[in-house]
Symmetry: C3
Subunit: 139 residues, 3 copies
């Protein structure tokens, strides 16, 4: 067995989900590993990860709509508002989704379902450069 770590830097341009399944697939190929898992880790508390349908964009559109409705920016009880109205809501949205995902692979291929894609979910309005760590373990 072996470990292989790869750092990614992803550019976001406002709230939304950004697929990076291809970057993970490329890194898996680079690792030379055939069977094991990849841990996908998001190094931030104002964006998060989700594995979501990548066929019909309307599904992600509705997902964004729902989370924005669930976590409104206009709640007067927030105290952590130094960076603007999307500051606290970003942390809450992160906490309700995921910081780490772990995806198995077999025969050198990710065990994702037919419609599953791995997404970075940006919760801030401004553009950001986001760091993702991929840790492959296997043989």
């Amino acid at each position: 067995m072996a470990v292989y770590t790869k750092m990614l830097s992803l550019r976001t341009s406002g709230q939304g989900t950004y697929e990076f399944t291809d970057e993970i697939t490329d890194a898996l190929r680079g690792s030379g590993l055939r069977e094991g898992t990849v841990t996908v880790f998001c190094c931030h508390t104002s964006c998060s990860l989700v594995i979501m349908e990548n066929a019909d964009p309307s599904a992600r559109h509705d997902l964004h709509y729902f989370l924005n409705k669930l976590v409104p920016t206009d709640d007067p009880h927030y105290t952590h508002t130094l960076e603007g109205p999307d500051d606290m809501t970003s942390h809450i949205k992160m906490a309700l989704t995921r910081t780490a995902e772990v995806v198995p692979f077999v025969d050198g291929r990710l065990c994702l379902g037919t419609w599953q894609g791995v997404y970075l979910w940006e919760h801030r309005d401004a553009s950001h450069s986001r760091r993702i760590v991929l840790s492959f373990q296997g043989e």
Copy 2:
């Protein structure tokens, strides 16, 4: 250290939580491993995983009630509705729960708490056959 991968197929019959802790325990025994982790991965975007109390069924009953209240089917703003009113809500419920769980094991036994069971959470009304990947790593 070694890797051992096992594919499960679980049959669901409508919305609800389906425990499959025993299937994981059986696969752990089959792996011959004594210490490490098992990654439990759900290959779908309309069902998910949760580790929940398995003592009193009323806890899961109330959990189902809460999530259905939180994610109502009658929101007229959904656009991803091709497969019916439980289509978009299934994706949202999945995103709010978990696609992967990772459970350590020691001395050949899962480190689950006394009342913890691993559940597949089906969010669709119709019956489905669901694929779960178990990736054991350890020694």
Copy 3:
């Protein structure tokens, strides 16, 4: 590659988030491993994990506020209420957050972002002793 497992026991005193990043860092040092992942696993269904900003306490204050608003204790439809009004809400809050987190490490250091801390999220009102399993894998 090697496995190293460490059990933690954390004392909580009512609802809130309790950071234990230092305990994980100490255990990583004790493992002697330089590159790999640590699985952090919470052995309970009435508390959970979250990786959250550890700079400004107001962010966690607002996070607690939001989750309490989202999961109110006074819903008359709950049936799982034997242990009091914070019984069922604890399970729901756990299901909406995380039971396991997996954090990569490189050069003997956790790959956490500048402001990321690992927290145990206690959802019960009473004091509890909580078991956490750390499973390190790497080389």
